[in-house]
């Protein structure tokens, strides 16, 4: 059965790796739900965190095919229960009236992992971190006020083992 998997790949930090990785997912017709590339501290390596929604069997196969890319050092695929994963979202929420602004400030103060990072005449910019679900829930919460812009990062994750 299809499920969400997080594939974490450590690679040498050279150009062209992203291209080859993306090509492999394309060939196997696996849509990448999210992708984060970051540097590994103290080593000349990159860490790819790739979230896919796919059959377990295909995830295993693509994991092995990733090793065919010369620059790939290690590949680990895991399900959510093995990981602590976070994403970050920025929401630009309308706040024309004082009333609205107060309500939003109140909701922010009672929600976890949300901050107001910009206060403007017509809007507030909020930063929310959490799991995909936390972010979705918070999005729904803010929706009635009017979301002028929304952006969400890919997932980053560490192993919880």
């Amino acid at each position: 059965m299809k499920n969400y998997y997080t594939i974490i790949a450590f690679t040498e930090n050279t150009p062209g790796v992203l291209y080859r990785i993306a090509d492999l997912f394309l060939r196997r017709k696996i849509n990448i739900e999210s992708l984060t590339v970051s540097e590994v501290k103290n080593e000349d390596q990159s860490r790819f965190t790739i979230v896919v929604f796919a059959e377990p069997d295909l995830v295993e196969k693509i994991g092995k095919q990733l090793y065919r890319i010369i620059e790939v050092v290690k590949v680990i695929d895991s399900v959510d229960t093995d990981l602590v994963a976070r994403e970050i979202a920025l929401l630009k929420v309308s706040a024309n009236k004082l009333e609205q602004r107060k309500e939003i400030e109140h909701l922010v103060s009672i929600s976890s992992f949300v901050r107001i990072i910009e206060v403007k005449k017509n809007y507030l910019i909020l930063e929310k971190t959490g799991t995909e679900k936390d972010i979705n829930d918070f999005y729904e919460l803010m929706k009635p006020y009017g979301i002028k812009e929304f952006v969400q990062s890919g997932r980053i994750a560490v192993f919880n083992t």
Binding site: Y19, R20, R27, K64, R68
Partner: protein
């Protein structure tokens, strides 16, 4: 030593023991060709000027397959590089070591749509094992070292190095690395002992074991290891297209050629085997037929150096990541000596059926036009199988695979995974260049021959005494066969008018002869074999001849058709 980038590139090739380059010059690679001038004049390296970069690519493949060492190609930027794509794809699919060096526009103008700029790294990424663009002259020694290391080790494959013109022209202190260690690339070559024991146990308890051996036997030079194991455990050996000539075809345990047009026995009986040892092969769909009922009742042991091949197509009980040779040798140490007389005889019985139903009439017809199988059989007999045979793609390819009695190990070269028409003639150039003392026979159809016919020019200029056979049926035969069998004989765009091949050969200064009648066949073949230089032998064969047996696409191998 102070060198230019161009000199460094060639010095690097010398460090890698490269003796021959197949190539074609152009603007962005001119500095390298200028440096080459000195190296070719002092005979330190040989350059063979092809007529099309695709030809260089396939020639390098021929070289790579016979020597096990990367064939080397030079091409210019833009169209020169894109012309290599088919050969790269072919080498990638068929696991052939190759290093392509392409010129690139100046680094300052990359990305600006400069004249003859192409995103070569982008275009070739899916068809190369590794690729790299050099923009700094200092990168040359390490990148060359790395490229050759990657091309020839693990599962071999094609590698491409793209060098900008400014990097070719700049100078630096050249020093070639003696060793290389890559953090991210360390192919496993030695088998895991636990897995070997598991595999041995499966084989030791098997009543009807079968070995499926492929290209990996040649790459790993595991011919003896395969032979010893098969012999000790009395296991029939079936070969894939690229595995042909890895096991003696006159041996009692030789089960035959696998696949869509393979032999009857190994196809029908593979589904009766209880344990299958697959080694250096990848369960291509042309071998498995319909996968769901392939080897349904067998426990499978699969040895491959590429972990991604294990469990890719079918589930295996004992996956073994290793080089074929040490794995087979180790397996031998744990195997019980056995006899499977009855099981082996089943293959012989199948062969007898195939012989009466197909072989006899295909190879020795008494009347009617010459048949492809007949022509191939006569060539096989005339050479006693002692030849290196390169085939193109189509009906004739399957016929060569089926009927040529290869005597020398690793003596059949063909495009398998990609099925690239036009492969044969240029690949034969690479094979002949690497093995000048061996008889090299290129066998093509009238269609595929015209896909790289221009390489006759290279063959003439370089005096390559290749024996070139064209089996002319006036059709794109393999496609015609499918149209006949599966599309109600609606022949759509498969009839092909060809030039007078002998006149074409003559125009290139190559001798030739056309054979139309059975009584002239033996004479034509012996004239070709006796010729000192290259020779084109065109044989007119039956126009609507079909290759059988055949496993229709989507059918199970058990349903192989004999007619």
């Amino acid at each position: 030593m102070k060198l230019t980038g161009s000199q460094a590139a060639i010095e690097s090739l010398l460090h890698e023991n490269v003796t021959v380059i197949f190539g074609y010059p152009g603007g962005a690679i001119m500095p390298i060709y200028d440096a080459l001038y000195d190296y070719t004049h002092s005979k330190k390296i040989r350059h063979i000027l092809v007529r099309h970069e695709q030809g260089a690519g396939h020639a390098a493949e021929g070289w790579g397959r016979i020597t096990g060492e990367p064939g080397v190609v030079f091409a210019t930027s833009g169209p020169g590089a894109t012309n290599l794509v088919t050969a790269l794809g072919d080498a990638m699919m068929d696991t052939v070591p190759m290093v392509c060096i392409t010129g690139q526009v100046n680094s300052a103008v990359i990305g600006t749509d400069a004249f003859q700029e192409a995103d070569v790294i982008g275009v070739t990424a899916p068809v190369t094992k590794w690729s790299y663009q050099i923009t700094q002259v200092e990168e040359i020694p390490f990148v060359f070292k790395k490229a050759f290391h990657i091309a020839r080790t693990g599962r071999p494959g094609p590698v491409l190095i793209d060098i900008t013109k400014d990097a070719q022209l700049a100078s630096f202190d050249f020093e070639y690395p003696t060793e290389i260690k890559l953090k991210s690339y360390n192919p496993t070559t030695q088998p895991h002992m636990g897995q070997i024991k598991l595999a041995a146990e499966l084989l030791n308890n098997s009543k009807r074991p079968l070995i499926l051996a492929g290209h990996g036997i040649h790459i790993s030079k595991a011919h003896k290891a395969l032979f010893d194991l098969a012999q000790a455990a009395d296991i029939p050996v079936a070969l894939t297209l690229h595995g042909l000539s890895s096991f003696p075809n006159d041996h009692r345990l030789y089960a035959g050629f696998l696949g869509m047009h393979g032999n009857y026995g190994p196809n029908v009986l593979s589904n009766k085997a209880d344990v299958v040892l697959a080694v250096g092969m990848r369960f291509d769909d042309r071998v498995t037929g319909r996968v769901v009922d392939y080897l349904k009742d067998a426990k499978i042991i699969h040895i491959d150096i590429d972990p991604a091949e294990l469990n890719k197509i079918i589930h295996v009980e004992a996956p073994i990541v290793a080089d074929a040779k040490p794995a087979l040798q180790e397996l031998l140490n744990h195997i019980k000596k056995q006899k499977h007389t009855q099981w082996v005889e089943e293959f012989h019985k199948c062969n007898a059926i195939e012989k009466t139903k197909i072989w006899d009439n295909d190879c020795n017809p008494k009347k009617g036009p010459i048949k492809m199988a007949e022509a191939v059989t006569r060539i096989s007999e005339a050479t006693n199988g002692n030849a290196l045979v390169v085939s193109d793609v189509g009906q004739h390819q399957m016929i060569v695979a089926r009927y040529f009695k290869f005597k020398l190990p690793n003596s059949f070269y063909s495009s398998g995974g990609m099925g690239t028409m036009g492969y044969g003639l240029p690949a034969a150039m690479g094979v002949k260049t690497a093995a000048p003392d061996k008889e090299v026979i290129s066998i093509s159809g009238d269609g595929g021959f015209q896909m790289n016919i221009q390489e006759l020019g290279t063959i003439a200029q370089e005096h390559m005494p290749i024996k070139i056979v064209i089996l002319n049926n006036g059709f794109l035969g393999m496609v015609r066969q499918w149209q006949q069998l599966f599309f109600d004989k609606r022949y759509s765009m498969v009839h092909m008018q060809s030039p007078d091949f002998i006149a074409v050969a003559k125009a290139y200064g190559i001798k030739g002869m056309k054979v139309k009648k059975r009584e002239d066949l033996a004479g034509g073949i012996s004239k070709m074999l006796q010729s000192k230089g290259p020779f084109v032998l065109e044989i007119s064969v039956e126009q609507e001849d079909n290759v059988f047996p055949m496993v229709a696409t989507g059918a199970s191998v058990s349903d192989i058709r004999l007619e």
